[in-house]
């Protein structure tokens, strides 16, 4: 006869000294983990609620400008530097972590229209309504009185936008025509025209670096290859596009912010149909910027809100607003994928978190694991109505809410009218066009 009885050695289960961590023996037998699904669901619900509790995206603001800010630009390599230009021609360099202005230049007479760092970040360019393109050194002079541009180019035509090449020392400007410049020369090396009156935004592709996109005042979007002598393609939309931005990860995709409150993501290989139409804003979208991951982008609108969209989603995942923030003029997503910078009409630059409830600062390993776990749970149970409702709900200002309701009514009326028209006309004589295609007029090549 052999008898064995459970007899545990407590030393294996109890820590020896207080400085040690607790000994936690695991056994993954499902029998010992009852109600796994229900408990997971409750955890997911709690995680979603906690997300809401910790959603405090506003970090701080940079104030100092004496007029509305027209544009901001981030440094290509340094995370702490930011350039901003105002409507009074003032240009400022900011230290973001210290929230301090470290340089102040009266760069132009009249409005400062655009700023752009060079690809190495040693210099930056500014353009203004005085037709000047000014190149400044990133190194500040010893005395602020000695502030002088490293180079000044006087353009023949009015310039309204600038974008620097991502690998070479070239930059493009737009205005009456699109011009290509070299840093070392005082005259443009190439000029592109396609029968339009003015262009108001231009952007180099960060990956396919010879590709250039521009938005024109005649509601068109034009693509250029700087190795060619003529523009490549042109797409005419129903309403004007305000801003164009290339996806930094998918070289062939770009998004435009349109005057018709929406944004359109295009694939350059098929311009006739946008990949996605991003809706939610209730006024013209003024600016946008992609996250360095290329999976999300931030937009600033005339409706005084900032929204964050996922590239493949129609609706925004986040909306930021404050009582004091006025119409947005420019937004930027920082290169560490953590913060969003926004410039608005009331002379302030605001710093936001890119993920509203993210904990800042270094995380412990266990903390990280717990956050990852709750993230996975939220994803797993996202479709459950209770969780979905909590996760999606966003408070918006009253004027935005009212506008949303109004737009809803208008949309409903349009739909009803279309349905009626179809009902009372000869079968097959009316064609319904998808909403997304209604915004595209034609493509020229």
């Amino acid at each position: 006869m052999k008898i064995k009885v459970l007899s545990r050695d407590p030393n294996q289960y109890i820590r020896e000294t207080k400085s040690e961590t607790h000994k936690l023996k695991r056994n993954f037998d499902p029998k010992l983990h009852q109600f796994e699904a229900a408990r997971e669901y409750v955890r997911a619900l709690n995680a979603t609620k906690l997300d809401k509790v910790f959603a405090k995206p506003f970090i701080g603001n940079l104030d100092g400008h004496r007029d509305s800010i027209s544009c901001i630009s981030k440094h290509p390599t340094s995370l702490s530097l930011l350039l901003s230009g105002a409507y009074n021609g003032e240009l400022r360099v900011w230290d973001i972590p210290q929230k301090k202005c470290i340089r102040e230049i009266q760069a132009h007479d009249g409005v400062l229209r655009g700023i752009s760092y060079t690809n190495d970040g040693q210099h930056f360019f500014s353009i203004g309504d005085d037709k000047n393109i000014k190149m400044w050194s990133s190194q500040a002079p010893l005395r602020p009185e000695d502030e002088e541009p490293a180079n000044t180019i006087l353009s023949k035509s009015i310039i309204s936008g600038i974008s620097h090449h991502f690998t070479e020392d070239k930059f493009a400007t737009c205005g009456e025509v699109c011009q290509l410049w070299e840093e070392s020369r005082n005259s443009s090396i190439k000029t592109y025209e396609w029968g339009v009156d003015t262009l108001h935004d231009v952007a180099f592709n960060p990956v396919q670096s010879n590709l250039l996109g521009a938005c024109a005042a005649d509601r068109s979007i034009i693509l250029y290859d700087i190795r060619e002598t003529k523009p490549l393609r042109k797409l005419v939309m129903a309403l004007k596009s305000n801003k164009i931005c290339w996806n930094p990860m998918e070289a062939f995709n770009f998004t435009v912010a349109s005057e018709d409150f929406n944004l359109y993501t295009f694939d350059t290989r098929n311009l006739k149909c946008p990949v996605t139409m991003h809706v939610d804003h209730v006024s013209a979208v003024m600016s946008l910027d992609y996250a360095p991951t290329g999976k999300e982008f931030v937009t600033g609108s005339y409706d005084k809100t900032i929204r964050i969209f996922e590239v493949d989603k129609v609706h925004s995942r986040e909306v930021y607003h404050t009582k004091r923030m006025q119409r947005l003029t420019s937004v930027q997503w920082t290169l560490d994928n953590k913060y969003i910078l926004s410039a608005s009409d009331e002379m302030n630059i605001r710093i936001w978190k890119a993920r509203a409830s993210e904990k800042l600062g270094p995380l412990k390993q266990r903390e990280k694991a717990a956050l990852n776990y709750s993230e996975a749970l939220k994803d797993k149970y996202a479709a459950h109505p209770k969780i979905k409702k909590i996760a999606q709900r966003r408070h918006v200002p009253k004027h935005v809410y009212n506008a949303q309701m109004e737009m809803k009514t208008i949309r409903k009326a349009h739909r009803r009218k279309d349905a009626n028209r179809k009902l009372h006309s000869k079968p097959g004589s009316t064609k319904t066009k998808p909403e997304i295609l209604k915004k595209i007029v034609r493509e020229d090549a």
Binding site: I3, S7, I14, K23, K25, D29, P30, A38
Partner: protein
């Protein structure tokens, strides 16, 4: 001079030889290739197979791959079939689901793999030849085990306030004793350190620990009382009275109480509210247990049936006829797979607790059992008066003999297996006996779930965590994982919906006449217009309905015609 015998070849040498052979074969093969130049596809395949096999042997001899996990072990951690990708259109989504399923598979395999790290092995008895385990007495067991384990077998003589009831905490660290005549004691039974000992000066009907060992509920003569571990009365709940049975549902923080009048009440102990109350119509409720798998309460009646109750439903969610005589005792095993019921017809029946349609086993015993209790490993203790029998492997398979037998001098009132220990606590008429039952307890606990060695700080932290994870009582149902399933209408619901179509009435419209200029309208006109509008709605509605029905009919007809089309061609000549 003796010639030494050739040594038997070692495994390694044999393998080497094999390798040499394979190499030779390969050489021959390659030679053949060179000779023939042109090989048929079949030969090429064969050749490739052989060379690959040779490569594998070579590799295998040097670096053995990851050892496969035994299939039986993996099955234990398996959570059922995954989602099939068959209906999914779109490559991306399909790939996504495949990856997800692979992840689940990997997780299952990994949890099976780490079983090797479990440090403890369960107890048991191995009888000699010709010996039966049921002949082994408690004294023999005590003699044959180590001192620390022997100390777990003890007896308390409490002559005055019996009969006694016993309950353990879920981690098996603390024990609660209560005599019918008001004596109550809570203590850490490892160290035998007494937490409190009081006399409530009233009769005690049942006792129960709440979510932690510092609080327990006690069903007294009239009301339900809650005490802390110093014996201080925290609450007296007057809305819950005349209680016979208590159960605590730990994941829902519900204290379930069954009253003498057959009323079941669920008290949420985290907020102190009665969240559910059900009349079972079973007067003198004497058997009530919880199913730890789905937190459903099971009550046995004198008519011989067992009903299952949730706080969300006034009717039993399941009811089954178990015995032709009153149900005297019942229990459900901790994994929630088996339910044992005992009746006064001298039978103990084992049921599949998830599929209640048929009995798994029926045991005829020489008495009407007054107590049935399952251990974590599936041992079943059955008792009546002075008899205590313990059965092993009695649920899925039929067993003939008892595993252990014990006879008492006093009547047994109540018994419970201690979780994570090889111990059975028995409350008797005149005290308490702790018996050693080898192989009764789960050997390896999960410290993040239930930890017998937890510190006070861990207990406090665990309490907070558990409260945060409190499952809403609305989610109690027979299937605990219903939350993860897709809500698809059943066949019955579909048929009902179809039948409902015949009885739908046209919608009532709220007709409001437009304000017209003076002299243009008039009540007669208004009434007429209203009627016209209503008639129009009615007409449209019936037209739509008839279209729907016609559509269905035509569907059926097309189905029939398809069937016809499948008939053999020559049928028309028959």
């Amino acid at each position: 001079m003796e010639i030494p015998e050739p040594k038997p070849k070692t495994k390694r040498e044999i393998r080497k030889d094999n390798n040499v052979k394979i190499r030779q074969v390969n050489e021959v093969l390659t030679y053949n290739v060179n000779q023939k130049k042109v090989l048929s596809r079949y030969h090429k395949k064969q050749l490739l197979k052989k060379t690959n096999a040779a490569k594998r042997v070579k590799k295998g001899s040097k670096i053995p791959g990851r050892a496969p996990v035994p299939k039986g072990v993996v099955k234990k951690y398996d959570k059922g079939d995954g989602v099939s990708t068959r209906g999914i259109t779109g490559i991306y989504q399909k790939e996504k689901w495949k990856n997800k399923e692979n992840q689940f598979k990997k997780a299952t395999e990994q949890s099976a793999r780490v079983e090797i790290l479990l440090s403890e092995k369960g107890g048991g008895i191995e009888a000699d030849e010709g010996e039966k385990t049921k002949d082994i007495k408690q004294i023999d067991i005590v003699k044959n085990v180590d001192v620390a384990s022997a100390a777990k077998s003890f007896e308390l003589h409490l002559n005055e306030f019996g009969p006694y009831q016993v309950k353990y905490t879920r981690n098996g660290k603390h024990m609660l004793l209560a005599g019918k005549l008001g004596h109550m004691a809570s203590f850490n039974w490892f160290t035998k350190k007494l937490a409190c000992e009081i006399n409530v000066m009233e009769s005690i009907h049942d006792i129960c620990y709440l979510h932690v060992d510092t609080m327990f509920a006690c069903a007294q003569k009239k009301y339900l009382h809650i005490y802390d571990n110093t014996g201080t009365e925290l609450h007296c709940l007057r809305k819950i009275s005349n209680i016979n049975k208590l159960e605590f549902l730990p994941y829902h923080f519900l204290l379930a109480a069954g009253s003498d009048f057959g009323k079941l009440q669920w008290l949420d102990v985290s907020v102190g509210e009665v969240v559910g109350s059900v009349l079972t119509k079973q007067h003198g409720l004497s058997t009530m247990v919880q199913n730890p798998y789905n937190a459903v309460l099971c009550t046995g009646s004198t008519k011989g049936d067992v009903a299952m109750w949730t706080p969300n439903c006034q009717e039993p969610v399941a009811k089954l006829f178990c015995h032709k005589s009153p149900v005297t005792a019942m229990d459900i095993d901790p994994s929630g797979l088996y339910m044992a019921t005992a009746g006064s017809d001298f039978k103990v029946k084992i049921w599949d607790a998830r599929n209640l349609e048929k009995t798994l086993q029926v045991y005829k015993i020489p008495y009407a059992a007054s107590n049935v209790s399952f251990s974590q490993t599936g041992l079943m203790a059955v008792s009546n008066r002075q008899n205590l029998d313990i059965y092993r492997d009695c649920c899925a398979t039929a067993t003939r003999d008892q595993y252990l037998v014990h006879r008492f001098k006093q009547t047994i009132t109540n018994m419970k297996f201690c979780p994570f220990e090889d111990v059975l606590g028995v409350g008797t008429q005149k005290g308490f006996t702790s018996l050693l039952i080898p192989g009764a307890g789960e050997a390896n606990f999960d410290a993040l779930e239930l930890n017998p060695y937890q510190y006070t700080s861990q207990r406090k932290e665990g309490e907070v965590k558990a409260l945060l994870e409190k499952i809403p009582y609305e989610m109690i149902s027979l299937n605990p994982s219903v939350i993860t399933e897709v809500d698809v209408p059943t066949m019955k619901e579909q048929i009902e919906m179809k039948q409902k179509l015949h009885f739908i009435k046209p919608p009532q419209i709220d007709y409001k006449p437009r304000n017209k200029a003076k002299g243009k309208g008039g009540s007669v006109n208004n009434a007429r217009n209203k009627k016209i509008a209503q008639e129009k709605v009615k007409k449209d509605f019936y037209q739509k309905l008839s279209e729907l029905e016609e559509g269905e009919k035509s569907n059926e007809e097309t189905k029939k015609s398809n069937v016809k089309a499948n008939n053999p061609i020559l049928q028309r000549f028959l």
